[in-house]
Symmetry: C2
Subunit: 792 residues, 2 copies
């Protein structure tokens, strides 16, 4: 990279060229929306050149292209390593244009070459069935941010910049998007970026003033407020405001150059002194008209600089000859004949304005992060095993050894791995990780932080009380080729339901695109689970995230419910090395019974589901019933229920199954992990009652297993939305996943037990009431329930 | 209300009294966490007085109580009408204390009287099984904001203030909460509050510096940045900073009084001039130590003023005699003997500091809004009916007549009804509502707004590009006794999954509390649905919100999928008059076929599910198969499939069922709307194949209906996460909900059709391919598919 020493200095000729390049972008953006033929207007525009269905967003496109071409100038001048994100991703025409013009599009999609036929097909396929999406979809070279759902551009940009000291992430932020909740808090990401070791994010707030039908808030507050707001967020705003293209080019060229030079100055200073402080990073406020350079007025209504420019600025061109004429005049105003040569190729003097090879933002490998991804160096997870002398004899905090594993992964993969959690890594018992890496913190320090706050500018544990921002950072980090692990409270993972949805969609699409290299999976540990939120009460009890997960493509979703330390380690070890999935691991942080030695755990997790022989007494014969545990507490209660039953009915034959990999339940035709019907039947029998004690909402199991042979005998217990302030056992009782309810249920379902079982049921009910009373009396569970162990 | 003319003037004696009252609050907060006996420390503290399980959040409590008692002073002085919201709701001890001290708690829960026994039980039950929650739960008098999930305090506060000109909503905002996405954007709510007709929100940012294990961002930026940030958000911040109680009381008394007087001045000016402009409303930054007045240090570690004060500041009092002693010294530092009389009642001179009757913030009827709720005046929804000459003959935009109904409801219920939507009410075809009420807008205006922006300070249509803020406003508006309607894009309603969850939990709890009066239902129209997001592509296709909804209590959730205008009007009419539900209505905004006259629609919606005789030809006999449509597009495709079948097999007997009320499918034992098995069987038969064409993810139907007799023959089609840029028919084909796929499916499932049907299937497949090609060629659907009508 050349040392950025010069101050802005740009000739009029260069400005004219930049403007011409930008006109080419704008021409392409408009062409994408309108034209299926006559792409370079070599003939007068006719109705038959117009698409049947006019789709696309014009409004944000010129501004996005404006930012892109100006960034190109500086990449050329200084050989910067930069990528580009379009917050308002529905302005894709403004991004696709420059990508096509710099040749990347044609390299990847050779049928859309750099000639008239190529442009024609490019236009035709935009927003066309089976064609080019109207957002910055995974098919878009250089995109790692689709912008379909708004709000994540800044957090994605920071995720990309972390541990990429050389990279400048240019991110155009929509002023509509800026009203969303996730975007509003993500401006604070600057307190988590270290100028010594991280790259830079250069936000360009695209203040074009309007959303679909409304002005934007940020465009309708005073200049002073806007300036204050960004200073308050910790940025130094620079304003580029106006509508005259040449004046704006001059101003933008100057300001953008100032900003990137300021970024380089900040970085050089921090790196020379090796003293990371939080600078007031520069940002740009680009106030320009919505639908800039488009038609000023259509059918008597203002369009350019107004919300009417949002999508298709002239809608009735097929039915209104005057407007067809207006469209033609508008398109010709870009002078395509000056921009493209006889073959339809961009004029060489304009082509020369774009960077080359991987310096093109559309061809930068950081935006196809799998290309740069290095596999994690993994310690042997078996070294972290809990010592299990026998099943169900001892207790341990399930997540703590995982924290040690994460610590050692961190130590071996500095610069390439981060741990994320909303102020909860300690609460979630993962705090061993701080032994090698503190929490990233660039805000102020106080002396007392020395005693246990675990903060450092050099940390790589990311903690902010915003699940949205963390998820966005992590996605950006993964999509640029790195690795990460995110733990969060179960009830509040719903906060990022929609982000999960969008990332799953991104991955599902990416996986079908040959040129997209695989990226690391997004690993999500859901902890502080429902069955240990008895004391926090109803608001903290919601295991329903899994119901959201199973709606997404089976190609990208994985769900695990390891019941103890060793199974959790096994599962995490696999997940951390996988690519292109979202791995959801549900495991509570509190002390729980330990069941399997590491050797047993590996075997069990490899199968994902299996009979626990030591907990079964059917000994290969057909059992009277099948008891299933899935999740830590449900497994414990299910085991305790089998003990109650075996004590009361010495001849009862129970098979005990534990499920770690939830998708084992689905048919193999629907998920690659699904068991074959034969295997399912051999585990669950074809006619014996199954009591399935599940971690989450019980209906989920039916949803997965409704086609299985023995579904009619499948009885699922789980969280039924019954909660208040309670003890763990009482919470279990209210939702009928407790040992007593399960045992009573079994008695009712095995005909030969029913009569003899009447008094047993009565005894169980008495004991259940006793537990209840004990909790209400003492505020804790009965010692024998709380400290229950497997007796055999 | 007295005219607030005086300037702050407070005697030293009054300050001492306020401090004493606050000490009583803090004593109670600590007592709740620790004591099960000896509540007033009449004896030396012993281990047996200590709870077995120490639970609760001390850290935020003193600050919350501080805000509460100072607000009390001004309510007394000026007779203000005010309510109180605690953003960090887990600081409930700091709110429960003042509520108990002003007598409300004992009035509502007489077993916890204002005496020693009452205090003892109050202490014991806090965070105890079956007892008092550790958040500001619905059981908490005066609470309409639980604060279990963080981030919604400001938006709830604004919702409460709208159309309550007299009300001051005091809201303590946690600095941890301030990092959340929803909170960060909700500060902009001040652009949507009209000082003439709305009340005021007075935020007190509770800057106590720490979360669970971390400092907060806002406490670790410069004073200048903090000041800039809030000025940028449009507020005028006032700072109250320190730790010495008496100095802080003096400062807070002065500043809080200044702020409420400034609020009254702003309001008086706006109301006198009747010229609503956006003032820079005052807010307070209260910088005080976390766990203020608690132990300074425990086991050698800083506690007061540090994150260690977050929950139980001294954990090991049962095992560590020194710390038991420290706890006692701490508790005695509040001098309970000076605060409570012989009976355990607050001293009369302190009691006199609290407001009385409904001026107590804990007894203000606005915080039990059902008490104030007036039923909506409803126009006759039948007047808005679409003219339907015959079933499936004509098309109309389904949501437009609803917009007219909403318009007229708005006209008849000004001050009592608002419409909410994220910049999408026009896009969602509800824009007729602007004829009587514009969009609320207090930010700047431009001349061009006159042409179609529909903005006004006097509007009551709430549009901001933040689903979180809208949902928060609506919840606050409803919980204070008003009515509302929220429409939003289907894919992005997932943005507020977690807010839905929390509100459903709030309602489920509230409904069991006798003193909570019913509030209006939260009505949510989900539109721009998956089957019309073909052109926006994959990111905009997600009908999974319903899967989240069905996890919540059947007592509070309702789901409707009206297929046309008249059914939508019927459903909306019911929903708008209901109480204590969340009504989810799924209906697309585009042009769709119309099926039922208003009379038929009323009949159909009353049943919620039913056979459409005109679309069936089984004529009371047992049909060959049952075809089901649920949702607009799925119903159309299912109908078209029956036509294809009847054309090909003249003797086939098809029963056509349409489902409007989704919960009809669940067993009647599980949801009050559920059909009895008998009724279900008589509709769906016990042995005929059922093809169920569903709007959403197909598994949801199995989840609801898996216990039904004929479940084994139930074949559900729905969105299977197959999407890209397409036409509607092509999108349907990819997910197999199209007419051709359905018809082929039926042929395969009726044995007698299989052989004869082979060539029919081939023909259908050819036609399907033709449609596909046509779309890929022309960018639109085949005219006969696009304009298909019911032919009989």
């Amino acid at each position: 990279m050349n040392a950025p020493t010069q101050l802005p200095d740009i000739s009029e000729q260069e400005l004219y060229r930049i403007d011409a390049y930008w006109r080419a972008c704008n021409y392409l953006a408009a062409g994408m929306i309108y034209l299926r033929d006559n792409p370079l207007l070599r003939e007068p525009l006719q109705i038959e050149h117009i698409k049947n269905r006019l789709l696309g967003h014009w409004g944000a496109s010129p501004g996005l292209a404006f930012g892109y071409v100006h960034m190109n100038r500086l990449i050329k001048k200084y050989d910067f390593n930069a990528i580009f994100m379009a917050g308002p991703g529905h302005g894709a025409p403004g991004v696709l244009g420059p990508i096509y013009l710099e040749g990347t599009y044609s390299e990847i999609y050779p049928n859309k070459g750099e000639d008239e036929d190529g442009i024609k097909l490019f236009f035709k396929e935009f927003s066309f069935p089976g064609g080019i999406g109207s957002h910055c979809t995974p098919e878009t070279p250089g995109s790692i941010h689709e912008g379909g759902e708004l709000g994540y551009s800044i957090s994605h940009a920071f995720g990309a910049a972390y541990d990429n000291p050389d990279l400048i992430v240019t991110v155009m932020v929509g002023d509509g998007e800026s009203e969303t909740a996730p975007l509003a808090t993500s401006w604070h990401s600057n307190k988590f970026l270290n100028p010594v070791r991280d790259g830079a994010v250069l936000p360009i707030l695209h203040l074009n003033g309007y959303k679909i039908n409304n002005p934007t808030i940020l465009s309708r507050i005073s200049h002073e407020e806007l300036d204050n707001l960004f200073r308050g967020y910790g940025w130094t705003p620079h304003f580029v405001e106006g509508s005259d293209p040449l004046a704006m080019h001059a101003r933008m060229a100057e300001v953008l150059e100032q900003c990137v030079l300021e970024i380089r100055r900040i970085q050089a200073e921090a790196r020379t002194s090796n003293h990371p402080v939080r600078p007031r990073w520069p940002m740009i406020v680009l106030r320009s008209p919505k639908g800039w350079t488009g038609p000023k007025e259509v059918n008597g209504h203002k369009v350019e600089g107004f919300w009417r420019a949002h999508q298709v600025p002239i809608g009735d061109v097929r039915s209104n000859p005057e407007n067809l004429h207006k469209l033609e005049a508008w398109l010709r105003s870009y002078k395509p004949e000056e921009l493209f040569d006889q073959n339809g190729c961009l004029m060489p003097e304009l082509k020369a304005l774009a960077p080359r090879y991987t310096r093109r933002m559309s061809a930068n490998p950081h935006a196809n992060g799998g290309l740069l991804r290095k596999a994690l160096r993994m310690p042997d997870f078996r070294d972290y095993a809990a010592d299990v002398s026998g099943p169900g004899k001892t207790s341990a905090e399930n997540t703590r050894p995982l924290g040690k594993l994460l610590r050692d992964i961190m130590a071996q993969n500095m610069n390439n791995f981060r741990v994320f959690g909303p102020d909860e890594n300690s609460s979630n018992k993962l705090d061993n990780v701080y032994e090698v890496s503190k929490k990233t913190w660039l805000a102020d320090f106080l002396p007392e932080d020395a005693d246990g706050s675990e903060l450092s500018p050099d940390g790589r544990v990311m903690e902010m009380l915003s699940e949205h921002t963390l998820e966005g950072w992590l996605e950006g980090y993964l999509l640029t080729g790195r690795h990460g692990f995110f733990s969060t409270y179960e009830a509040f993972v719903h906060v990022i339901d929609s982000m999960f949805n969008q990332h799953a969609k991104w991955l599902a699409m990416s996986n079908e695109i040959p040129w997209r290299a695989p990226v690391s999976s997004l690993n999500l540990l859901i902890t502080s689970t429902v069955w240990r939120q008895d004391h926090n009460g109803f608001t903290h009890q919601d295991p329903g995230f899994l119901d959201v997960v199973v709606n997404k493509s089976p190609k990208v979703t994985r769900i695990y419910l390891p019941p103890d330390v060793n199974t959790l380690l096994c599962v995490a070890n696999d997940c951390l090395q996988s690519t292109d999935f979202i791995n959801v691991i549900v495991c509570d942080k509190q002390k729980h019974l330990q069941y399997l030695t590491m050797e047993q755990a590996i075997k069990h997790c490899t199968k994902g589901i299996g009979i626990w022989d030591w907990a079964s007494n059917d000994e290969g014969s057909e059992p009277d019933m099948v008891m299933v545990g899935c999740g830590d507490i449900p497994t414990k209660e299910a085991l305790a229920a089998t003990v109650l039953l075996r004590e009361s009915f010495p001849d009862i034959k129970i098979r005990f199954i534990n499920v770690v990999d939830l998708y084992k339940l689905t048919p193999s035709s629907e998920h690659p992990h699904g068991l074959s019907d034969k295997d399912f039947d051999s585990l669950f029998t074809i006619d014996r009652p199954i009591i399935f004690n599940f971690h989450g909402y019980p209906w989920l199991i039916h949803r997965l297993a409704y086609r299985r042979t023995n579904h009619k005998n499948l009885h699922v217990r789980g969280y039924k939305e019954k909660g208040s302030i309670n003890t763990p056992l009482e919470l279990a009782i209210q939702n009928e996943i407790d040992r007593f309810s399960l045992a009573i249920d079994v008695i009712d379902r095995i005909p030969r037990l029913r009569v003899a079982g009447a008094h047993v049921k009565e005894r169980l009910r008495d004991k259940q009431i006793e537990c209840r009373h004990y909790a209400y009396e003492h505020g804790v569970d009965l010692p024998e329930a709380d400290g229950w162990t497997w007796p055999y």
